[in-house]
């Protein structure tokens, strides 16, 4: 008798729980999104943590399209095979329509060509900078599914060319470091200079670890350029500049951000760097960027100093807002098509926090568009899914490195548009 009573009670409880369970499930469904990031690398962990932070904020604001979001995170180990497999598993097994990642271009690219584009899943990378994505998009092979929130090397190259134009140089020789970054930026700056009508007398690759760069420098001297552009690191940069000046080269120099070091200034000597101008991309001077730094510092007990953190945050936020705009059960293509209504410069400005997310949802539900004011500023994608960034120019002085001029995002965009 007693046993029967207990079982009846238990049954009753079970039934109660079961009905409670179905009620809860009906109210908050869960939508999965995928993230493939190199969490086994030290600098990859914070990028993933930041993406998760953005997802948490979206959930705090009531989720996306009526559902709570769950980010399934997979490690790429910076290995293309592992990354592609993880992406494929997320798409096939978890059925995600949105994939965040990866960091390295060499991992993002095979994921794009062999997983996301064939499956029609939207891919949003925080940190891949290679211009190969732009070319792929230009050929129409990304189906508009790829976006990234990391500015390409194009920004610095364009600003370098802008400096040359403003200084009135008629001819420039380009030195670039022979790696993916240097090859990319060296080629771009040469094209930009030519577009401005400045003569490029030579573009010369610098392989690091050589005892002397006399041969390369001599070759550059032949064209007798008015100035040189350098996409080099301090070690080989110092050597190239020393030999360049000792052989009678011009002291008019422009350089990319990699030479922004006191070591370079001290080893070359201030007396030779009077006409030196450097370029760099800058974090935007906007309230939204400062707000992100404050919120991040409060959450993680430290400022967002690693690479790609602000980009990772914006990538996630924009993707989630687009997902909301596309509605429940949207496909990757639907979501990708809605990105434009999140980053519409004529839309209602929304901030990058829970309040902003709620406001964006309201506006989007009403059929409007929003202008997302993110951690990297007022993000705007071009037709290839690329973004640009504000820039600064800087010079060396006795005291250290001094900023010369801040070039806002609008100015950078306008200038880059004028080059094409």
């Amino acid at each position: 008798m007693n046993g029967l009573k207990t079982s009846a009670l238990a049954l009753g409880f079970a039934a109660g729980f079961a009905s409670f369970g179905t009620d809860a499930a009906a109210q908050d469904c869960t939508t999965k999104i995928g993230a493939v990031l190199p969490t086994s690398v030290d600098w990859g962990k914070p990028i993933a943590a930041t993406a998760q932070y953005a997802v948490d904020i979206a959930n705090e604001a009531g989720g996306v399209a009526g559902c709570q979001m769950e980010m399934v995170l997979r490690d790429t180990q910076v290995d293309p095979k592992v990354g592609v497999d993880a992406a494929k598993a997320l798409v096939d097994l978890d059925g995600v329509q949105l994939l965040l990642g990866a960091v390295s271009s060499g991992v993002s690219m095979p994921i794009l060509t062999s997983v996301t584009v064939p499956a029609g899943v939207m891919q949003m990378s925080c940190c891949s900078s290679s211009t190969a994505f732009t070319r792929l998009a230009e050929e129409g092979k990304t189906n508009g599914l790829f976006y990234r929130t990391f500015a390409t090397s194009g920004v610095q190259a364009a600003v370098g060319a802008m400096v040359a134009r403003d200084a009135g140089y008629k001819s420039v020789a380009v030195f670039y470091k022979n790696d993916d970054w240097g090859q990319d930026i060296g080629g771009l700056v040469a094209d930009d200079l030519k577009a401005l009508g400045i003569d490029v007398t030579a573009t010369i690759a610098i392989n690091d670890g050589q005892a002397s760069f006399r041969a390369e420098v001599t070759e550059a001297l032949k064209g007798n350029p008015e100035a040189i552009y350098m996409a080099l690191y301090p070690k080989e940069g110092t050597q190239v500049v020393r030999e360049w000046i000792s052989l009678g080269g011009s002291q008019n120099m422009i350089a990319a951000n990699a030479l922004k070091s006191d070591e370079f200034r001290d080893n070359v000597g201030m007396q030779f760097l009077g006409n030196f101008t450097g370029t760099d991309t800058a974090s935007p001077r906007t309230e939204s960027a400062d707000a992100f730094v404050t919120a991040y510092t409060a959450k993680f007990d430290g400022p967002p100093n690693g690479p790609g953190l602000a980009n990772s945050y914006d990538a996630t936020m924009i993707a989630l807002m687009a997902m909301h705009a596309a509605g429940k059960d949207a496909t990757g293509a639907d979501i990708a098509a809605k990105v434009a209504s999140i980053t519409d410069s004529n839309g209602t400005p929304v901030t990058a926090d829970a309040a902003g997310f709620s406001m964006a949802k309201e506006v989007l539900d009403g059929g409007g568009t929003v202008s997302y004011q993110g951690a990297t500023g007022n993000v705007q994608f071009d037709k290839n899914g690329d973004v640009s960034a504000p820039a600064v120019t800087w010079t060396f002085s006795e005291g250290g490195i001094e900023e010369q001029k801040y070039i806002s995002l609008t100015e950078v965009n306008d200038f880059m548009a004028s080059l094409n």
């Binding site: 969490t39 993933a48 490690d75 293309p80 497999d85 271009s105 690219m109 095979p110 990319d184 392989n207």
Partner: protein
């Protein structure tokens, strides 16, 4: 359900491609005793060769010859064989660890060269051709299924070819050289020539795997040919059982399954705070599997079957 099948097909394709490379290494190490520490160089030569020969032209890059796919794949194998022949001529007199270090150096040099040569894609890598027959089959599941069939046929063909090869008198000669080079020489054989033949043949097989890999991903970059791949392929052979082709294939499927399933399981079942460390945990788990294997079953899951000689067996 279709998702699970789709993923399994994808997984099996990658594992089959890697199996081919492991079979190539098995010919070199398992049967001839050549410690090839530069598997990626030959894998990479096949991959780059295939994409350059079969790809569409791209600004500033060598290649884009647009050859028919099968011709490009064979071209990739020839590239791998060519690289192996040159490397082999220079290093084949080296034994064991010396050969391992020399070939490891070759692999690193190969990666550096690809990274620095703009005409070969530079650090950004080479984007491939449209996958063959894509027009007819679409981009989705059907395509992957057909491609898997193609890879599987090549895997079986490679397997049967190598099985025959090692059962033949030539195969016995390979093992004779592996066990005692001096003795083989005293019987009038030329160990260095045979070692070179085996080295080139194994590398051509790796080149085939590389070509298939690049076709499947439609992309290859220096990041695909880092030393980690050599390590993975070696781990597959050691776990499966060096000297046994069945072991080589099984080892590949097992290790690659462990590699991917551990990542999947951790992402699904590990608590949220641990999520960020799953990558590192995965490395530890896989390390355990390999070390455990070496401690308790160093001959691998499928040990080599030692046959004194075929005629001796048939007389039994």
């Amino acid at each position: 359900m279709i998702g699970v099948i789709s993923y399994l097909v994808f997984f099996a394709t990658v594992a089959s491609i890697l199996s081919i490379a492991v079979l190539g290494l098995n010919l070199q190490w398992g049967n001839t005793g050549l410690f090839n520490g530069g598997v990626v160089a030959f894998f990479g030569a096949g991959a780059y060769g295939t994409l350059i020969l079969g790809g569409t032209p791209q600004a500033g890059q060598l290649g884009g010859f647009g050859l028919p796919y099968l011709l490009a794949l064979i071209g990739g194998m020839v590239c791998a064989g060519g690289v192996a022949w040159i490397v082999g001529l220079l290093t084949i007199r080296l034994r064991h660890d010396y050969l391992a270090i020399a070939t490891f150096g070759v692999a690193v040099a190969f990666e550096t060269m690809m990274r620095n040569t703009n005409a070969l894609g530079g650090a950004q890598g080479i984007r491939g051709f449209e996958r063959p027959l894509r027009e007819a089959l679409g981009a989705g599941f059907t395509y992957n299924l057909v491609f898997f069939g193609f890879v599987l046929i090549l895997l079986i063909a490679t397997y049967l070819f190598l099985e025959r090869l090692i059962k033949s008198p030539f195969g016995r000669l390979l093992r004779a050289i592996r066990e005692d080079e001096m003795a083989a020489q005293s019987l009038g054989k030329s160990p260095s020539r045979i070692r070179l033949t085996s080295f080139v043949a194994g590398s051509v097989v790796m080149g085939l795997a590389g070509g298939l890999y690049a076709t499947f991903y439609a992309f290859i970059s220096p990041q695909d040919v880092l030393p980690i791949l050599t390590f993975q392929i070696w781990a597959m052979l050691i776990v499966g059982g060096a000297g046994n082709n069945k072991g080589a294939v099984m080892g590949t499927f097992l290790i690659w399954a462990a590699w991917t399933a551990s990542g999947w399981a951790l992402s699904r079942f590990a608590p949220l705070e641990v999520q960020l460390y799953t990558g590192s945990i995965q490395f530890v788990l896989i390390g355990f599997v390999i070390v455990g294997m070496l401690l308790w079953r160093p001959q691998g899951i499928f040990p080599e079957r030692l046959v004194v000689s075929q005629s001796a067996r048939s007389n039994k």
